[in-house]
């Protein structure tokens, strides 16, 4: 079977000592930042990108992806024990997870979260492996018009799925697209938006933007809030869930894995969407919905499985088409480019050891996470006691050195401060920054494909409508916009986000 031979390539690549080591480093770090509120995977991956220069590309990608799905495990720990979602995808886990902790069942909640996540991670790894080959073959048929349409669909979906005001999210995407165009235009050699600064000729580094907005901007916003964490009050209790817990949880875990896998693939998706959807489904299916919010284990098992599955299947669009589904994947594109790998359907055939190695490493990483999280839960609990006033100067230092080491340029560090203040402004204005980062990464690609498609069609814009695939993608984008504009659905969407 083809799948087995592919997985065998992956096993060979993932089970070298180096790659196992980096996988371990990635998931440990991921758990760490997942536990610590105020430091997310976007900022962490941005900080570590420069560090990966010296690594072999497979090891680099294995480590960086480990951070992302590892953060989903860590996020649930903080959510359950201190009612603080370490990650946005763990927001719903707070509802029932923390209620369970207050009843002295923190151990069961943590246990089921880890076991459910492991199961979901296994399922998602298989989904990625099975779906990758046909999707890549499909993607190879894409011309510039199709790529343009696909990116438009991706951006539209990112906007629809962003939290808050849709109009502002669209504007943020456009602002990101504009920022992405800064630097020398590859087609004409013209310098754009550089204001005569030679440091901007190569464009703004996405490390600068993501570290500014997601690192420094977040820190300022966190400092403004009054943080109170009460760890001492919580007793973890026995870690393994009881038979009754398993009986209640196995169906939510299955449904959560399926839902998360599906929603993770969507452009703009990822971990968060699946966890929200799973919580709503479980609440609707429950015989007694009033138990939810008061420590129903289904409300932990479902969403925690879903967010982990989603975190992993969101790699599909990146690995097979070179399109990022969310901000973390946008950074992964950057990581691939650093190593001279152009993301796209050709990666699978040209670098099979990298492609399948990363996929198999996800399963390996999930197994490591299970071991890291269940017996070592006490260590993570202690970490929660580290006060933020000690933590943020350390994060700032890593940001500074990380940004500097991208181009060895102090100008970049100063620019990061500017984007940090801008990021804080966006938080204050309730403008979700994720669409901006996505637009920023897609900006140059979008323009390039638009130009090529228009050149091929001799300036005829109907090319996007006459090619069936591109038409279908654009219609899908249009349908999404129309659906979101319907007042009834808009209300549902607001309720869905408000429930967190």
């Amino acid at each position: 079977m083809e799948l087995l031979s592919h997985l065998a390539i992956g096993v060979d690549a993932a089970f070298t000592w180096t790659n196992l080591l980096y996988c371990f480093a990635g998931v440990t770090l991921g758990t760490l930042i997942g536990v610590l509120p105020g430091l997310g995977p976007v900022a962490t991956i941005a900080m570590l990108l420069p560090v990966t220069y010296g690594l072999p590309p497979t090891a680099a990608l294995i480590m960086l992806s480990g951070i992302y799905y590892g953060a989903q495990y860590g996020g649930s720990t903080a959510a359950i024990l201190v009612n603080m979602p370490g990650e946005s995808s763990s927001v719903v886990t707070c509802l029932d997870g923390h209620a369970m902790a207050k009843q002295g069942r923190a151990g069961s909640a943590l246990g089921i979260a880890a076991i459910g996540s492991f199961f979901a991670g296994t399922v998602a790894t298989l989904v990625v492996a099975v779906a990758a080959t046909p999707l890549a073959a499909f993607a190879l048929k894409f011309g510039p018009a199709e790529y343009f349409a696909l990116m438009v669909l991706g951006l539209v979906a990112a906007v629809v799925l962003a939290q808050g005001d849709i109009l502002k999210a669209v504007a943020m995407t456009l602002a990101g697209l504009l920022l992405g165009l800064v630097g020398v235009d590859v087609n004409s050699g013209e310098e754009r938006f550089t204001f005569g600064l030679p440091q901007l000729a190569d464009g703004i580094s996405f490390v600068v933007i993501s570290m500014g907005i997601f690192g420094i901007g977040e820190i300022i916003a966190n400092l403004e809030r009054d943080e109170r964490r009460d760890v001492a009050a919580v007793r973890v209790g026995r870690i393994l869930p009881s038979r009754e817990d398993y009986r209640r949880s196995w169906k939510p875990v299955l449904r959560g894995s399926a839902l998360g896998s599906l929603l993770g693939v969507l452009p703009g998706g990822g971990a968060m969407l699946g966890s929200f959807a799973s919580y709503m489904v479980e609440k609707r299916l429950a015989k007694d919905p009033s138990r939810f919010g008061k420590g129903a284990i289904e409300g932990v098992a479902g969403p925690e499985s879903a967010n982990n599955a989603g975190a992993q299947t969101s790699f599909i669009p990146l690995l097979v088409m070179g399109l990022p589904a969310n901000a973390v994947m946008a950074l992964m594109i950057g990581a691939m480019m650093i190593h001279g790998i152009v993301p796209g359907p050709q990666v699978m055939s040209e670098r099979p050891e990298l492609f399948w190695g990363v996929i198999v490493s996800m399963w390996v990483g999930n197994a490591m996470l299970l071991l890291l999280n269940l017996p070592l839960i006490g260590v993570w609990v202690k970490l929660l006691a580290v006060p933020y006033r000690v933590l943020y100067p350390a994060i700032l230092l890593f940001c500074c050195i990380g940004v500097y080491s991208v181009n060895n340029q102090m100008f970049d560090v100063l620019l990061t401060v500017a984007f940090g203040l801008l990021g804080y402004l966006f938080i204050k204005l309730r403008c979700e920054p994720a669409p901006l980062l996505l637009g920023f990464v897609l900006g140059p690609m979008l323009e390039e494909n638009l130009r090529r498609a228009m050149l091929l069609s001799r300036g005829d814009p109907t090319v996007f409508l006459t090619r069936p695939l591109s038409l279908a993608l654009l219609l899908l984008a249009l349908a999404l916009i129309v659906v979101m504009a319907l007042p009834r659905l808009r209300a549902t969407r607001e309720v869905a986000f408000a429930e967190g």
Binding site: Y388, A394, R430
Partner: protein, 152 residues
């Protein structure tokens, strides 16, 4: 009934996007535009800026209504963390090449450390010492980031 700004946050957001869009398309109009078939450097950004400005205008208009409702409450800006966190990083960037990583780390920690409500000076000094050692060991020696350790 009066015309009221219902949402100051949104009107500011609208203005911000209008200005950004206009600045973008104005700058882009200075680049060669080309034709739809052979797009020049200015074509796409000009378009983007114009659409952004229009969206900004809609956000702005939406925030103003004819109504008797009281305007929504704004939450203010936290100047202290914004200024001190920014200043800490700027100081780091300005001094690190002359004074070296150790002193720059101490400066960053001491300045940005005051951004928190609770300032414990002794703790900050200890933290800056730990971070300096860690930074030098991991970044300067371990990863070979080209930054001087001590004053040049």
């Amino acid at each position: 009934m009066k015309i009221r700004i219902l949402n100051r946050r949104d009107s500011f957001t609208g203005l911000f996007f209008i200005l950004l869009g206009l600045a973008g398309s104005h700058t882009a109009s200075g680049y060669p535009l080309g034709s739809a078939m052979r797009m020049g450097a200015g074509y796409f950004p000009l378009l983007l800026g114009a659409v952004l400005a229009v969206l900004g205008a809609i956000v702005l208009i939406r925030s103003v209504r004819v109504t008797d409702d009281e305007p929504a409450q704004d939450d203010g800006f936290a100047l202290r963390p914004a200024v001190l966190v920014g200043a800490g990083v700027i100081v780091f960037a300005l001094v690190v090449q002359q004074l070296g990583l150790v002193l720059a780390t101490v400066a960053l920690t001491l300045v940005s450390g005051h951004a928190h409500r609770e300032v414990r000076f002794g703790e900050l000094l200890g933290l800056s010492a730990v971070l300096s050692v860690f930074g030098v060991a991991v970044f300067a020696y371990g990863l070979g980031v080209p930054l001087p350790v001590g004053p040049a």
